[in-house]
């Protein structure tokens, strides 16, 4: 009787439902009051703060050095942007920049020319994209040349700002216009009639050269738009999408009435259209900057660094002393913000770009990838414009996720830098600039603001 206590327990448990129902009732009741009480616990409770040993602190540290330099990309892909840049501009900071736009044209969609049809003229029509860079007041003379060489993209399908295609020096047409007047319109001007007649005859006799676009582009390599060598006030953009530029043949037939006809040879293979962007930086702070892997530190460029789209100028940022963060004991980097500001009094002449992005780079300044945060969003600079004093005007980048990841293995490789650039669509189709203050003694010096949690082990 006194031996099998555990079996007897279980036996009795089984037998007495009342225990079961009691327990259930009690637990149910308890559950109810718990749920109720949990709701109440959400209120803020401030009493008791004097008992806390608040050993952890959150501190802003902005003394880690931010080193800036200017990098010249060897080349940037400028094909298929939909914009034909054309013109020349020079200033003291960026030197002389010259843009030429190369493109192919295709055959008219229908071209049944009657025997008694007479050639009149040939023109080219360009439509302004609305983009200008520089001074729109002076007149600009642009010229159209015929290519003597095919436009051939590289293996990856791109043409670059440095690509070049030979063309006949003698233009087949030119015009002079006032950019500030014409900027929202189209311009149409005469082309050499010898070319016009040649094309007309081909259409008329259904020559093999006009049987297909492929055959035509083999015969007629394409066109380039250049600017007169004496003009250096402005760079303008023309629309350069598929069909956006057209070479038009005009003709007429005399029957009972006069019938006028026209045949459009329009821009073809728009992804083969590209802008050659040449720059001559001699006489500027950047005159020594020639190859991509050799950047110029800001101290050699009067404590300024430069960004220019189109020519492929970017600013490299490095944090040479950030490795010391790893020596700080019991510290966690909660947040890291990079703040950069434009050089004051430099940007009144143009509107500051409202979007600046970050590209990861390495010791030889290769572009690795655009910087994303952990949420998968591109890291872009939050732009603050201080209209009143310009003093607060700056771009702030949240690079927390990048630095947390870089510091995670307890080693910081500072040669892994960041490049500041414009978003890709701007970078390859425009010539926008930004000059960044790099003087650490200036109030708007570049700063790395790190929010550090200093915790206590106890």
């Amino acid at each position: 009787m006194k031996k099998h206590i555990p079996t007897r327990f279980i036996y009795t448990f089984l037998k007495y439902k009342i225990i079961f129902s009691f327990c259930s009732a009690v637990i149910f009741f308890t559950g109810l009051i718990i749920i109720q009480s949990c709701g109440e616990q959400e209120n803020t409770f401030t009493i008791g703060s004097t008992f806390l040993e608040q050993n952890s602190r959150v501190v802003l540290i902005d003394t880690f050095r931010v080193e800036l330099s200017t990098v010249q990309f060897d080349s940037i892909a400028t094909s298929g942007t939909g914009v034909a840049l054309c013109g020349r501009y020079s200033d003291n900071e960026f030197g002389i920049i010259e843009c030429k736009s190369f493109f192919q044209i295709g055959i008219p969609s229908s071209s049944i020319i009657e025997n008694n049809e007479v050639y009149d003229s040939v023109t080219i029509m360009l439509t302004f994209s609305g983009y200008t860079y520089g001074d729109t007041i002076p007149n600009q003379k642009i010229q159209v040349h015929q290519l003597t060489e095919n436009i051939v993209a590289d293996n990856s399908g791109y043409l670059y700002n440095t690509s070049s295609v030979d063309y006949k020096e003698e233009p087949i047409g030119f015009t002079v216009f006032k950019p500030w007047v014409n900027i929202y319109e189209s311009i149409e001007f005469r082309i050499d009639d010898n070319l016009g007649l040649e094309l007309f005859e081909m259409l008329k006799y259904n020559a093999s050269q006009v049987s297909s676009n492929e055959a035509f582009t083999e015969y007629f390599k394409g066109l380039v738009i250049t600017t007169d060598e004496n003009d250096h006030g402005v760079i303008v953009g023309f629309n350069a999408g598929e069909g956006a530029i057209s070479l038009t043949l005009y003709s007429h037939i005399v029957k009972e009435n006069l019938i006028e006809n026209s045949y459009d040879f329009t821009l073809y293979n728009y992804y083969q259209q590209f802008n050659q962007i040449n720059y001559d930086r001699s006489g500027t702070l950047l005159s020594d900057l020639t190859v991509q892997d050799d950047d110029i530190p800001s101290i050699e460029t009067e404590d300024k660094t430069f960004i220019q789209s189109g020519t492929g100028l970017v600013t490299k940022i490095q944090f040479p002393t950030l490795g010391e963060f790893l020596l700080m004991e019991n510290s966690a980097m909660l947040k890291a913000e990079l703040v950069i500001a434009p050089v004051i009094n430099n940007y009144t002449r143009s509107i500051l770009p409202d979007s600046v992005i970050i590209i990861r780079t390495d010791i030889i300044n290769r572009t690795l990838s655009q910087l994303y945060n952990n949420e998968g969003e591109k890291v872009t600079g939050k732009f603050i414009q201080d209209d009143q004093y310009n003093e607060q005007t700056s771009y702030t980048f949240d690079i927390t996720d990048f630095l947390q990841a870089e510091l995670k293995d307890s080693y910081f490789d500072y040669s892994k830098g960041l490049l500041l650039a414009f978003p890709e669509n701007t970078f390859i189709s425009k010539l926008n600039t930004l000059i960044i203050e790099s003087d650490s003694k200036e109030f708007n010096a570049p700063r790395l603001k790190i929010q550090v949690l200093v915790y206590d082990e106890e």
Binding site: Q36, G48, A332, L334, T400, Q451, L453
Partner: protein, 410 residues
């Protein structure tokens, strides 16, 4: 099926007890938290008195020797829940909290004529606080909110034995396993100026623990007199500590070597009682815990010896077994004064309370629902400290069965 049900229920009740918060007192931030008062329903209504009481109508775990009073036919189950509403007051502020939970589960029975035992799980200490502070983001003009929370506590699983070596004399011990964890969090939510982080400091504590007791019960005239003594050793709690700092997608884990260690103090208790069976009983307890031998790392804190004195009385007007109405009930009253081991900025954090309660017999007297009410206060509003006024309702169910008698009838 029912067996499976019951096991699940019992286990979930146990785990529920183990992992739920049972206090919201800011004072529980210190040490291992608030030290929970022992005793079950009947004790609670009598100021927590019971060192000299026998475990007759219900279990009494204040003195392991008392299990000797379990009659040979009974098996006890004790289950307790409580609801506590507290007003926390400083010199300038006042805030309310309500806590409720399952508190303990225990069973007691007689094994042989000279040996009785009990086992159960009861809270030993509890931590549960949540405090918000405003802090400066150093180096800037900004400030941010920080939340400190603590939860957890130490549970005690015990097996109690009481032996009766000779007439009127009982000696017993609780062999316990103390275990639990205390989790202290520091939480900052992300705002415009601050990124979120969370520091979690988890301390796992455990050790075996022994406490002893003796009781001497004798009759003189129509009354039964009891005297009881209890003792427990100083004991270090084994600790494992982990600090985790979570921020961004990272978590830094540290296992600090020099972390707080905790000792449980040497403790003595003495109690006397006078009882007239099925009519009344009166008891007086005094316990002393040598906390002054301990040291706490908190610089705010001084520790001193803890003394607790309590009295309690139980009375029933019942004349017969099948009495009904108010005459069938047990009436209890008591009170205690506890000079806490905590002394903050030279202010003792003492507590005192009055208790009263009812015992409502069920099922022909075998089982009983015990209700007890405790009205008390703790602490002081001096020196920026907190005074807690609380009302506590404690519901206890003593299930008692005459198992062995049933066996005999069969």
């Amino acid at each position: 099926m029912k067996l499976k049900y019951l096991i699940v229920l019992f286990l979930s009740a146990i785990s529920y007890t183990l992992y739920s918060q049972i206090t919201s007192s800011p004072y529980s931030i210190f040490g291992i938290g608030n030290i929970e008062t022992g005793g079950f329903g009947a004790n609670a209504a009598m100021g927590g008195t019971g060192i000299a009481f026998k475990s007759s109508g219900s279990l009494n775990n204040l003195n392991p020797a008392s299990y000797g009073g379990i009659d040979s036919l009974s098996v006890f189950f004790e289950l307790g829940i409580f609801g506590k509403t507290t007003i926390y007051k400083t010199a300038t502020e006042s805030q309310n909290r309500f806590d409720a939970n399952l508190k303990y589960l225990a069973a007691g029975f007689r094994v042989t004529r000279w040996w009785a035992g009990s086992f159960g799980i009861i809270p030993f200490s509890s931590v549960g606080y949540s405090i918000n502070t405003t802090n400066i983001y150093e180096g800037t003009i900004y400030s941010f909110e920080r939340q400190y929370t603590g939860k957890g506590g130490i549970n005690k699983f015990y097996i109690g034995n009481s032996l009766k070596p000779f007439k009127n004399f009982f000696m017993g011990f609780h062999a316990s396993y103390l275990f639990g964890s205390i989790i202290n969090n520091e939480i900052v939510d992300a705002t415009e100026n601050i990124n979120a982080y969370k520091i979690t400091q988890t301390q796992y504590l455990n050790n075996f623990y022994l406490d002893y007791g003796i009781q001497y019960q004798f009759n003189l005239g129509k009354l039964n007199y009891g005297i009881g003594l209890t003792y427990s050793n100083q004991r270090k709690l084994k600790t494992d500590n982990i600090v985790e700092v979570a921020f961004g997608i990272d978590t830094i884990s540290i296992e600090p070597e020099n972390f707080k260690t905790f000792f449980l103090p040497e403790s003595y208790g003495i109690g006397i009682s006078v009882e007239k069976e099925n009519r009344f009983r009166v008891g007086l307890d005094y316990t002393f815990s040598r906390w002054s031998a301990m040291s706490f790392s908190n610089p705010l804190l001084e520790v001193k010896d803890n003394e607790r004195i309590s009295v309690g009385m139980e009375y029933t007007p019942r004349q017969r077994r099948n009495e009904t109405g108010i005459k069938a009930l047990y009436y209890r009253i008591g009170g205690f004064y506890n000079s806490s081991y905590l002394e903050i900025e030279n202010q003792p954090i003492d507590s005192k309370a009055i208790t009263f309660g009812l015992g409502i017999p069920l099922r022909q007297d075998l089982s009983m629902i015990n209700l007890s009410f405790e009205l008390g206060d703790l602490g002081t509003t001096q020196k920026g400290l907190i005074r807690e006024f609380y009302g506590l309702l404690h519901v206890n169910i003593t299930l008692r069965d005459l198992w062995f008698m049933k066996r005999k009838i069969k």
